[in-house]
Amino acid sequence: MVRSVPGWLRVAAIVFIAATLIVLLAPLIVVIGASVSESQFISFPPQNFSLRWYAAVLSSSAYLSAALISLQIALAVTVTATLVGGAAAIALHRRQLPGSEVLATLFLSPLVLPTIIYAIGMLMFWSATFGPVSPVVLWLGHSVIALPYVVRTTLAVLSESDPALEEAARTMGANRLQRLWLVVVPQCLPGLAAGAFFAFNISFDEAVLSLFLRKPGLTTLPVQIYGQLEFSPDPSVAAVSSLMIAITVVLILVIDRMLGLKRVASV
């Protein structure tokens, strides 16, 4: 097939792919480039290589405390979304609950609702009901946004599992807990792990919800960066952003190990 593609079209395809990749990756490359510049101002291409802005970030209490808050919330969200979403996925996979189609839609609905609408709801509901916004609200909100990803990755893995295994365990006399823990959960592990890394990434990078729920002392890393960009961007923002890109690269590599990127891409 490919052999019969006209030559000019092949050249066009190569040019098109190259141009698209440049556009897709340009913002990331520019941020990383600007972060290693010696210059006082954000500049790309960088002028004179220097790591001074990384040093500035690592000695800035504003960045460090924001990073700590982001990390704490992301870890709490990862645990919550993985446990809750994984359990829900197992239940949904068995299709024995009344209205399991509706339930599946419910669990995926946070994907469809725009975050900004959800963010307003969270802000109004929690501040009207319980007073000032606390880290607990961010934890719950991020967990809701991350939940569908865990449900999806776990369901994807379960759909390829063998239902006969659980039946075999039953006839061999395993009780419910043993079947769940020794047969079903091990089969879910790649999906659960990939979902966990997704959840961490989503929470760590989430900006809109955290922006609406921000208050002094509750600034996550994306909110800190957003604030800097609005008022006084300097190359230290580029350094922080580059660190966040690095974390994303690591997470993608791990997810690829767990589930395979091709599977993730076509889920």
């Binding site: 239940a91 949904l92 922006l211």
Partner: protein, 273 residues
């Protein structure tokens, strides 16, 4: 304990989380959009829909979202097709190149565009060197900047939606068309494009929804002058503190998106059932 009870127990924490932290807050927000000092009222909606300033914001949101969706589809379809038809190694690298920006924080990517599009940035400088624009040309705080930034942010969603469908198209169908005398472009038009349509439609809906409700990129690239619905909502929440009015705008955004989504769900539901 029955099987059903076990499954209910497994799903329960998730249902509780969704009820308390998802459906309840959204319900509360919808109620707030109808609340006035003396009982329920539609005045917040009337205020939005009766003011040409806000209607202008709504129109800009719809217009930009349509442009962004169209550009994403035009770039996303050939990109997905090429990704589906190249060798496995190259495909792997292309998938990484699409997923890496997708998983990077929107704030970080928008920052990259701020550097590229600013007056002394690479893009205006290149255009200036090519003699296409004048000395004082800048792209920041324009609708063009919003479109450029949003296309990059949302293109991965479109590409992956189409890729999922294109990879399932039998390559033998294309070969058959070629054997029957179709040129490459005719095969694309008569075979590949119609079969990819579900992916293109799904991707377009996703991109339209996300771009109509996106906030970070338009706000940073467009500035305070060029408001879209999402930045107007943010302003009502954080600056003028008119929460019921902000809630009403969110409901208008939500209803607008539903108006686009529901006919599609009906259509695809009818096809499956």
């Amino acid at each position: 304990m029955s099987d059903r009870a076990e499954n209910l127990l497994l799903a329960l924490p998730g249902l509780l989380l969704l009820a308390l932290a998802f459906f309840l807050p959204i319900g509360q927000m919808m109620l707030l959009s109808l609340s006035g000092p003396d009982g329920p009222t539609l005045e917040h909606f009337a205020r939005f829909l009766g003011d040409s300033y806000y209607l202008g914001i709504l129109w800009r949101t719809v217009r930009l979202s349509l442009i962004i969706t169209a550009i994403c589809a035009v770039i996303g379809f050939p990109l997905a097709y090429i990704m589906a038809r190249v060798g496995p190694r190259l495909r792997m690298w292309l998938v990484i190149a699409v997923i890496l920006p997708l998983m990077t924080s929107v704030v970080v990517r928008t920052f990259g565009w701020m550097v590229l599009l600013s007056r002394s940035g690479l893009v205006p400088e290149l255009l200036r060197d090519m003699g296409l624009v004048g000395r004082s040309f800048g792209l920041m705080q324009t609708e063009t900047a919003i479109v450029i930034g949003m296309v990059q942010v949302l293109l991965p969603f479109m590409t992956l939606s189409i890729l999922g469908v294109v990879t399932r198209i039998e390559i033998r169908l294309e070969e058959a068309a070629r054997t029957m005398g179709c040129s490459f472009l005719q095969t694309m038009r008569a075979v590949v494009l119609p079969l990819s349509l579900p992916g293109i439609v799904a991707g377009s809906l996703l991109v339209f929804t996300l771009s109509a409700s996106s906030f970070v990129t338009p706000n940073l690239l467009g500035g305070a002058r060029i408001q879209v619905l999402a930045s107007s909502i943010y302003k009502s929440v954080t600056q003028s503190l008119e929460w019921p009015f902000a809630a009403a705008q969110a409901v208008i955004l939500f209803v607008g998106i539903l108006l686009v989504l529901v006919p599609y769900i009906r259509l695809s539901g009818a096809r499956h059932g």
